[in-house]
């Protein structure tokens, strides 16, 4: 029996659970007798805690513990790093000393019988400090860039410096040049679900119902922090209420929940406030980039110089792929990239949807757009003239590359031919109308993964893997992969995710879940069929576990990336400077599409994330103490329903025989990459004003 379910636009298998309130997220796992913990954060940005008046708070109704660095247990904090942790530096050791490294850093935790009592007591806790002025402004002359340690090796995944040819002399000699600075604000992930952990000890065993994109790493990290064997820690997270990268790492609040539960000898529930999610759980770092392009008069790129700096904390070097795409997106003999970090008195940033690529491609694609106007060449045509035959950075062929196909498809659907090339030449009544476009790219990553499949006597199958589903539809698409491999209808396959005692999976991020976990599920389903064929039919379940990883030979031979094209139309009010996105079209070459309905939703969601990056999102720090001044969902602007016009997402037919057995490249990140430059380029076309900082705000275009 064959079902051919891969490629079918099935509705979500977990749809019913999500529309009835039955789907349970971390904070929904209330435990009998649980106490509630509330974190008290530092109200200074740098300094030392000099006093904490715990006694009056300990006497408040319902309070069962006030834990500070003075009475907290000294935790082992055994060395542990995963690939999602910064390679250089050491994670924050929470409540282990009196130092305050950034505004909001936990300085105490209050535990009480009820949430109201804990909130009240946490608010009443008096903490005194000796405070210094923190360095939080990247423009401060005291802020000194450093070369990231992990980028120094010649084989570094994110090299600090790369060069081919001689980019600087070629730039100097180029007849046509663009050389500009691009700035992107700090962004916060702001998933709808706040970080939450319910911790319960049973002797020396710990169970954590905890929001995590990487349950096996959360298990390993907490085991290391508390000096436990990993098998003593169980992490459970069947559903994630969005994360976009913020739950890749295990942040200190998870340690605090476990610490509090051990102290009070009861289960403890700890949910971060929305405000706390603005400084305690990572952010897209502010970046400053110089992008310089040199070209011949007929539009052939002769040089690219890309120098970028991202902020990081004082205690860890967070790195992202800021300059990576620049080395292969276009053909040119001379490229130089430089990536630096700027340590500040802030919490460590972390990956946010399209980490690095979204920021780097913004600079590159805006610069290419500027170049097109200087040359008088249509922006799509300019890209076509510089389409490479191979990845010139790696000197390898692409496993597949559909960039120009994406541009052609998106341009046609968008109606690019109706665009008048001259800026400020299109109007709708009194509104200025602009059309812009950009390329997008994101790597087709792959990581080793494992899965278990079980055939039951009733003709159904169970599949288990310690992966997660933060919203893209992993439950559904993986069920399709299993059903197709087993030759069963999807109704007969039950997929379980989000437990650290399931076969280990990589982090749910980097657009590699389908490639990695999908391949492992396929392997496990094939293995269980072989096992079933070998064994006599005795009415007992048949089980097999299998792993999958990328063929290293393929990785050595090919450069593997997704590509896409994004087109946007904006209307700008010349009198009051408001910018409205009126429509957008994206086309993507992402290999095989497992579920077109969910893929389209995921793409449109990513585009909406890009709209936020382009026009709204910005976390503002008070330079006096590093406090985020807009740390809530009313003043941290992000797209609401009324902001979102008609959006289209299309997929070009792309068969990639190399990338993996499923032929999938992933699309979670690329959907965000490219949206911001497309909008910025549309704003230029509408107004004639080139805005090189994100988000683009009213005041940036008011002078038009």
């Amino acid at each position: 029996m064959t079902t051919n379910v891969i490629g079918n636009p099935l509705p979500r298998v977990d749809g019913r659970a999500k529309v009835t309130g039955a789907a349970r997220y971390a904070a929904d796992f209330n435990q009998g007798g649980q106490a509630y913990a509330v974190i008290v954060g530092a109200t200074v940005g740098l300094g030392r805690v000099t006093g904490i008046e715990t006694a009056p708070v300990e006497k408040m109704p319902g309070v069962v513990a006030v834990i500070t660095h003075r009475n907290a247990p000294r935790l082992p904090y055994a060395p542990h790093k995963s690939y999602i942790d910064p390679a250089t530096g050491e994670r924050l050791h929470v409540l282990q000393d009196d130092q305050v490294r950034f505004y909001g850093q936990p300085v105490a935790i209050v535990v009480a019988d009820t949430l109201d009592q804990a909130e009240r007591a946490a608010a009443a806790l008096r903490v005194s400090y000796t405070a210094e002025r923190p360095l939080v402004d990247p423009a401060d002359p005291k802020a000194r860039p450093v070369v990231p340690e992990a980028g120094k090796q010649p084989d570094a995944r994110l090299p600090a410096d790369t060069a081919r040819g001689n980019a600087d002399s070629a730039l100097a000699d180029a007849p046509v040049k663009v050389d500009a600075i691009y700035e992107i604000a700090r962004e916060n992930h702001n998933p709808m679900e706040p970080h939450a952990t319910v911790a319960a000890w049973n002797g020396n065993r710990l169970t954590l119902w905890s929001k995590s994109q990487f349950v096996v790493n959360e298990q390993a990290e907490i085991a290391a922090v508390f000096g436990l064997p990993p098998e003593n820690v169980q992490v459970i997270c069947p559903f994630i209420g969005g994360a976009f990268g913020t739950s890749l790492r295990t942040w200190p609040h998870v340690t605090l929940a476990a610490m509090a539960a051990r102290q009070v000898e009861r289960p403890v529930k700890l949910v971060l406030t929305r405000k706390q999610m603005f400084f305690m759980t990572g952010h897209r770092p502010r970046t400053l980039q110089r992008m310089a392009l040199g070209a011949t008069a007929d539009g052939k790129l002769t040089s690219i110089v890309h120098e970028g700096t991202g902020e990081t904390s004082r205690y860890e070097e967070f790195m992202e792929a800021l300059t990576s795409v620049t080395t292969f997106l276009y053909s040119t003999p001379n490229v130089r990239t430089r990536y630096r970090l700027l340590p500040l008195d802030i919490g460590t940033p972390n990956h946010m949807r399209g980490p690095g690529e979204a920021s780097g491609v913004f600079a590159l694609e805006c610069a290419v757009d500027e170049l097109s106007y200087k040359l008088g060449i249509d922006p799509i045509d300019l890209r076509r003239r510089n389409e490479p035959a191979i990845d010139e950075g790696e000197n390898k062929p692409f496993s597949s590359r559909s960039l120009m196909k994406c541009h052609d498809l998106a341009a046609e659907r968008f109606g690019w031919s109706r665009r008048l090339p001259v800026p400020r030449s299109m109007r709708d009544g009194r509104l200025l109308v602009g059309m812009g476009m950009a390329s997008a790219s994101y790597p087709a990553f792959h990581a080793p993964a494992n899965a278990r499949a079980r055939l039951l006597p009733d003709g159904t199958a169970e599949v288990e893997v310690a992966a997660s589903d933060m919203g893209p539809g992993t439950y559904t698409s993986m069920t399709q992969v299993a059903a197709e491999t087993l030759g069963l209808p999807v109704e007969r396959v039950r997929l379980s995710l989000g437990r650290s005692d399931y076969p280990p999976a990589p982090s749910h991020g980097g657009s590699w879940t389908m490639a990695s976990v999908g391949s492992a599920i396929r392997a496990a389903c094939m293995a269980v069929q072989e096992e079933a064929a070998r064994r006599p039919q005795d009415g007992r379940p048949v089980e097999a576990t299998a792993s999958a990883q990328r063929d290293p030979d393929v990785a050595a031979r090919f450069s593997m990336h997704s590509f896409g094209a994004v087109f946007a139309e904006v209307a700008v009010d010349p009198d009051v400077g408001t910018i409205r996105l009126r429509r957008a079209v994206g086309a993507y070459g992402i290999g095989r599409v497992v579920n077109p309905r969910l893929a389209r939703s995921q793409c449109i969601g990513g585009m909406i994330g890009g709209i936020g990056m382009a026009l709204m999102e910005r976390t503002v720090l008070d330079p006096r103490d590093g406090r985020p001044v807009n740390a809530h969902m009313a003043d941290y602007l992000l797209p609401v329903n009324l902001d979102i016009p008609q959006l289209e997402a299309h997929f070009v037919e792309e068969i990639d025989p190399h990338v993996n057995a499923l032929g999938v490249k992933g699309l979670g990140e690329i959907a965000l990459v490219g949206m911001a430059p497309a909008i910025a380029n549309a704003v230029f076309h509408a107004t004639g004003k080139r805005v090189r900082s994100l988000p683009i705000r009213i005041e940036d275009v008011l002078s038009v």
């Binding site: 009835t20 559903f239 209420g241 976009f244 939703s601 909406i608 809530h632």
Partner: protein, 211 residues
């Protein structure tokens, strides 16, 4: 760019002193204007003359009709309707997204009208009829709007979904679902960070047609 009014949450802090808790501000009826100045005791504590630091242990009885069932609970007067639903009654389908009335994840129907349950105190609603996401199915059949959310893929992570659906029911009942543009406007108090807005609009429009 949404233009919801600021709530009092972040303005209420003083770096080194006792901080005003939002619900106390609400209980006093003051809102943001009262926030920044001085510590204020919880209402019961003030009434009985206990010091602010001692807080309140008093509870008040409240009778609510939740999803058609009458429940009587003793609640801390500071406790929001949301926290009563989630932490007292175990109805965790209603979500806490921001606790400041700015995201809509906690939307429920209160006497038939949609309301953000994080910004209202349970003790204020003696006798009220509350409808949450758990109360929408009839004999195992999804409410038409629940079914439409699945059909039009008006969700991804699902965390905002209960609030979106309750808000959508309110939106339709108010007569604010005549066109996609009208739905976009009247559903803009419910943020979806995954960006399922087009599916949400399609689902509400579809259910409105059938209503």
């Amino acid at each position: 760019m949404h233009e919801l009014a600021d709530s009092s949450g972040t303005g209420a802090e003083q770096p080194d002193g006792p901080r005003l808790v939002r619900r106390e501000v609400l209980a006093l009826g003051g809102g943001a204007a009262l926030a920044a100045t001085m510590p204020v005791s919880a209402p019961r504590a003030a009434a009985t003359g206990t010091s602010p630091a001692a807080g309140s242990t008093a509870t008040v009885p409240v009778r609510l009709v939740v999803n058609g069932r009458e429940v009587s609970v003793e609640v801390d007067p500071r406790r929001s309707l949301l926290d009563v639903l989630r932490e007292t009654l175990g109805l965790t389908g209603t979500k806490k997204g921001c606790n400041q009335g700015a995201c809509g994840a906690c939307t429920v129907l209160l006497n038939g009208r949609r309301i953000v349950s994080c910004l209202t105190l349970a003790a204020m609603h003696e006798g009220a009829e509350i409808k949450t996401i758990e109360g929408l199915e009839t004999n195992g059949e999804l409410h038409p709007l629940q079914a439409a959310f699945v059909e039009h893929d008006g969700l991804q992570c699902g965390f905002c979904t209960p609030g979106q659906i309750m808000s959508g029911i309110g939106c339709i009942a108010e007569g604010h679902a005549a066109s996609p543009d009208e739905i976009r406007f009247w559903m803009s108090g419910n943020i979806c960070r995954c960006g399922a807005y087009p599916g949400i609009v399609a689902a509400v429009a579809d259910a409105a047609k059938r209503a």
